[in-house]
């Protein structure tokens, strides 16, 4: 399993994702430059957090035009694993690889804090190491992470079970008080219909070592590294 971490100018979680993949997980890692037109044989492409191109216009609005994005689109079409984290999720929505959009937090402020996420899909290559409705403890860090989609899209997502993570309280109840940003239906992460493109606002790479406050994020990396091939085949 070879991970490719995409670096746009303005990306900053590239090194954190790389650290977890390389140093904690011990998997193969390569960085993909935004100008690259070749995915270097990666099995899973991660679009990490940051402010790609400064995000002065609208988050992800410029990044979707980067040369590497065309290849990532083709890769996703072929069933390749694409994982957008934070800014990466925003970019995937802008690029049309995932439905909906991420708008400004309801508080109108940036939020960096720990949240709880209930896992609603464990049959995915990204979550196979998680338990049924397991509650993950993971931090967020964003100003524009409020998930929004029109009612039709939203009900389609719900019907097809494309919501992977929802903000919840410590016991797993999906309640308004646990929603840090005003996301519709407390949505923290979604997957495409085929199940190979995941977008999530929380940062699993920031909770993959005990000294950082938790290791729940590592379950997602390990799912991809160890189980992805089996899950894809089955």
């Amino acid at each position: 399993m070879k991970f490719g971490v995409v670096v746009f100018p303005g990306t900053w979680s590239d090194r954190d994702c790389g650290w977890v993949i390389d140093q904690v997980l011990g998997a193969e890692l390569t960085y993909l430059w935004h100008k690259d037109t070749d995915l270097k044989g990666c099995d899973c492409v991660i679009l990490p957090g940051g402010f790609a191109y400064g995000d002065y216009l609208r988050t992800g609005a410029i990044a979707r035009f980067a040369p590497v994005m065309e290849k990532i689109g083709e890769f996703a079409d072929r069933g390749g694993l694409v994982w957008g984290i934070c800014n990466g999720f925003q970019v995937l929505c802008e690029a049309g690889l995932l439905p909906g959009a991420l708008i400004r937090n309801a508080s109108l402020e940036f939020r960096c804090e720990w949240t709880n996420l209930v896992v609603e899909r464990t049959d995915l290559p990204f979550t196979s190491k998680c338990g049924e409705r397991e509650v993950l403890h993971a931090p967020i860090a964003h100003g524009e992470g409020s998930y929004f989609a029109d009612p039709a899209t939203l009900s389609r997502l719900e019907q097809r079970g494309q919501v992977v993570f929802r903000y919840c309280d410590a016991t797993g109840r999906v309640v308004p008080g646990a929603n840090p940003n005003g996301s519709l239906h407390n949505i923290a992460g979604i997957v495409n219909a085929r199940g190979n493109v995941l977008g999530m606002m929380p940062h699993p790479e920031r909770c993959s070592e005990t000294e950082l406050g938790g290791t729940d994020g590592l379950k997602l990396f390990r799912s991809v590294a160890e189980n992805a091939l089996q899950v894809l085949v089955s």
Partner: protein
């Protein structure tokens, strides 16, 4: 020379005379502007220089002391920590968001220039009371977040205080910490005649012209017209600049990197050349990439456009460097060469437009010998006249809710404090700690200053700031290593302010020398004094109760400190960790009510002498905590600071989510009950330990001749002193977590 013209460039007639004497001719317009900015207080330190020499700046681990872009100290395993604090007060008063944002951007570039990767930011902030000062407060907090969050460097610490004296003069001091391999530490020295000077990053515009001069005068009614002197930040561009500079460190084509900050190109070139005996430089302003048409050489040399760096490149290797910048889509241009004539020569194509000796620019400003006169001593405090404590619980809730003590969560959750995967003690406790990835080393960092203490006694207040910072470091289990300081003062031309500056620096020097803490970098910000607007708003509010100036700030010497723990698995947090733990006080308590938050909140006074400080005892207490942490006896440690023992204990409970049951406190005369609960006696920690560790703790304390007392037992969800107060954690949290209003 026209006096009005001189005032525009912030030079005095006497200074002009010195210039003419040294040059043996009158300077032209361009030269006058260049001298004006470099001789400003902000760049030349002409009022504070003789005093600053008193600060200890050397020590065993010091790799770089003051005089460079930032200080550096070795931390082991081949790593050096690079750090500096700097003020951006005046711009933040006028334009809070951009003032704070560019303050952050500037201090980051200082660390980059040393070849280090910035790993953390801290911000020491002072505002007038809310809600009146909410424009300043909101703008500054948003600006810090806007810049730091975007560039991807975690903001992990700092402080916020509110006081009337900052109403018109908010203080914004930004500190940046970086890491570099000791053998890759860079110095911004323009070595090698014939080497090229490249300018990289943002195009040069008219923004920020005369910013340094502006920072060297008092704010007045017309200050808002100086808004063009405040620069606009572009954190995305700086992120690209940062990564490109990190890539540069892999090539030996680069001789030096220098930040362009205050006084722009003029200062960057002069400083860089000034560090090498006999070096000079030729700059061709025509080669400087610009974002505006029709800029004069004067404007190009003085522009303070942000996100620019000057790079000294080996002759013939410019292409290599350019290609690194190109990869990040950054504009770079060769704008000049290093010379050996000791002169800064400015040309515009084939025309020479200015030529000045480097030493005249960097060291020529006549040192101002100011006179300090002690003001009348501040109000005394008749402790016996204070009514006895009536309601300890009510007082505690009011203190927890006071803006100076309430939880800062509402602020630090607006800052990304986790990016980098290194934050192992997050903000909200004493000091923050970051791990050095790939090692067991933990780097603790903090900023501290209780300006109320400094106002009441600047000499003692400065020592207290050093001691408090050290205690915050020690509370994480790390040992204090080194200091950077940001000295914020009012107008030093007034003898009582200059006296405060003298006393403060003497106090800092004494404390740092005694505690063996070198001061490796720093910054001085003077003239933090404004004349409040009179007019329709009615009479101006006067700030300082002692009537000094109309609206002068308290002396505010912010101490930034870093510390080191060799094995970060032994680090400590402030919150209680386990039910059944013994909660102990290390250190002793006296009637230290002068200058306390209790006195201000409950009795409305800022008076008395600040808490006494005995640096020998301070160090003994620190040694006990460090030894206990090292031996693994401690579950938590928290500094007893503003609000005293009871506020600190409440914080231990709230941060750990565990209550404490304590027997009633019955102080022995002459100790008062309010002083036992809320007095701010120094050199005290609240720690928690397992019952098994008690004998070791007792013998450790005895060995160091330090008082150790049992406060109570951790457990439950209330903070209780039997018969004296009983509050649930929910009640405490409701008072404390009022997100700065």
């Amino acid at each position: 020379m026209d006096e009005r013209r001189l005032r525009e460039v912030a030079l005095t007639p006497d200074e002009y005379k010195v210039i003419v004497e040294r040059l043996r001719r009158a300077p032209n317009e361009v030269e006058l502007g260049m001298l004006g900015v470099l001789w400003s207080e902000h760049c030349s330190y002409k009022s504070s220089k003789p005093l600053l020499r008193r600060l200890p700046s050397s020590g065993p681990g010091v790799l770089q002391g003051p005089g460079e872009n930032a200080g550096a100290i070795t931390i082991g395993e081949g790593w050096a920590a690079v750090f500096k604090i700097e003020s951006h007060n005046h711009p933040s008063a006028i334009e809070p968001y951009q003032g704070a944002a560019t303050g952050v951007g500037g201090i980051i570039r200082d660390v980059i220039a040393m070849g280090a990767r910035p790993i953390a930011l801290l911000d020491s902030l002072r505002f007038g009371p809310l809600p009146e000062s909410s424009r300043h407060f909101e703008g500054v907090v948003a600006g810090i977040g806007g810049y730091g969050n975007c560039i991807g460097i975690p903001t992990v610490g700092g402080e916020i205080y509110f006081d009337e004296c900052y109403t018109n003069n908010p203080l914004v001091n930004a500190m940046c910490v970086g890491l570099v391999r000791t053998d890759e530490l860079m110095r911004a020295r323009a070595e090698g005649t014939g080497n090229s000077l490249m300018l990289v990053g943002a195009d040069t515009g008219r923004d920020g012209i005369h910013g340094a001069s502006f920072a060297s005068v008092e704010l007045d009614d017309n200050s808002s017209q100086r808004r063009p002197a405040v620069q606009v930040g572009n954190p995305f561009l700086e992120k690209c600049l940062l990564e490109a500079c990190m890539d540069l460190s892999h090539t030996d084509a680069v001789v030096a990197i220098q930040d362009l900050g205050a006084a722009g190109l003029t200062s960057a070139v002069a400083e860089c050349a000034g560090r090498v005996e006999g070096a000079g430089a030729v700059i061709d302003v025509a080669q400087v990439p610009r974002r505006e048409r029709g800029m004069t050489p004067y404007e190009v040399m003085l522009s303070e456009s942000q996100e620019r760096m000057l790079v000294v490149v080996q002759r013939g290797r410019e292409r290599e460097v350019e290609s690194i910048f190109n990869a990040w889509d950054l504009t770079s241009a060769v704008i000049g060469q290093v010379t050996d004539d000791g002169l800064l020569t400015v040309v515009d194509g084939s025309d020479q437009v200015g030529r000045l000796p480097i030493t005249l620019l960097t060291d020529g400003a006549p040192v101002r010998r100011l006179v300090g006169i002690a003001p009348d001593p501040p109000f005394g405090l008749e402790i016996d006249a204070l009514p006895p404590l009536a309601d300890a619980g009510g007082t505690l809730l009011r203190l927890l809710a006071s803006p100076n003590l309430s939880s800062r969560r509402g602020v630090f959750r607006r800052y990304d404090h986790m990016v980098g995967d290194a934050t192992i003690v997050p903000p909200g406790g004493d000091a923050a700690m970051l791990r050095v990835k790939g090692t067991k080393l933990g780097l603790a960092m903090t900023t501290d200053c209780n300006a109320r203490y400094c106002h009441l006694d600047p000499h003692l207040g400065a020592q207290l700031a050093v001691a408090e910072a050290a205690r915050n470091i020690v509370a994480t289990g790390a040992r204090p290593l080194a200091v950077t300081d940001c000295l914020n003062f009012a107008n030093p031309d007034r003898p009582e302010v200059y006296w405060e500056l003298e006393e403060t620096i003497a106090g800092l020097a004494y404390a740092c020398r005694t505690m063996e803490l070198p001061v490796v970098s720093g910054n001085v910000s003077l003239y933090n004094e404004s004349f409040p607007t009179r007019g329709e708003g009615g009479p101006a509010q006067s700030a300082r109760p002692d009537g000094v100036g109309q609206s002068a700030i308290y002396p505010t010497p912010v101490v930034g400190m870093i510390g080191l723990i060799d094995d970060y698995s032994k680090r400590l947090g402030a919150g209680l960790r386990a039910e059944g733990d013994f909660v102990l006080m290390i250190g002793s308590t006296h009637n230290d009510l002068g200058g306390t938050e209790y006195l201000k909140v409950e009795h409305g006074h800022v008076a008395g002498r600040p808490p006494a400080l005995d640096l020998t005892r301070e160090q003994a207490v620190n040694r006990v905590v460090l030894a206990a942490a090292q031996s693994g006896y401690l579950h938590s440690a928290h500094d007893c600071a503003e609000g005293g023992m009871l506020v600190a204990l409440a914080e231990c409970c709230l941060l750990g989510g565990i209550g404490v049951r304590c027997p009633a406190v019955r102080p022995e005369a002459p100790l008062r009950l309010d002083a036992a609960f809320f007095g701010e006696s120094q050199s005290r920690f609240i720690v928690s330990v397992t019952s098994r560790a008690m004998p070791e703790m007792q013998s450790l304390a005895r060995r160091h001749n330090v008082e150790l007392s049992l406060l109570g037992l951790a457990g439950g969800d209330t903070l209780e002193f039997e018969g004296q107060l009983k509050l649930t954690l929910a009640e405490l949290r409701q008072a404390w977590d009022v997100l700065v209003p």
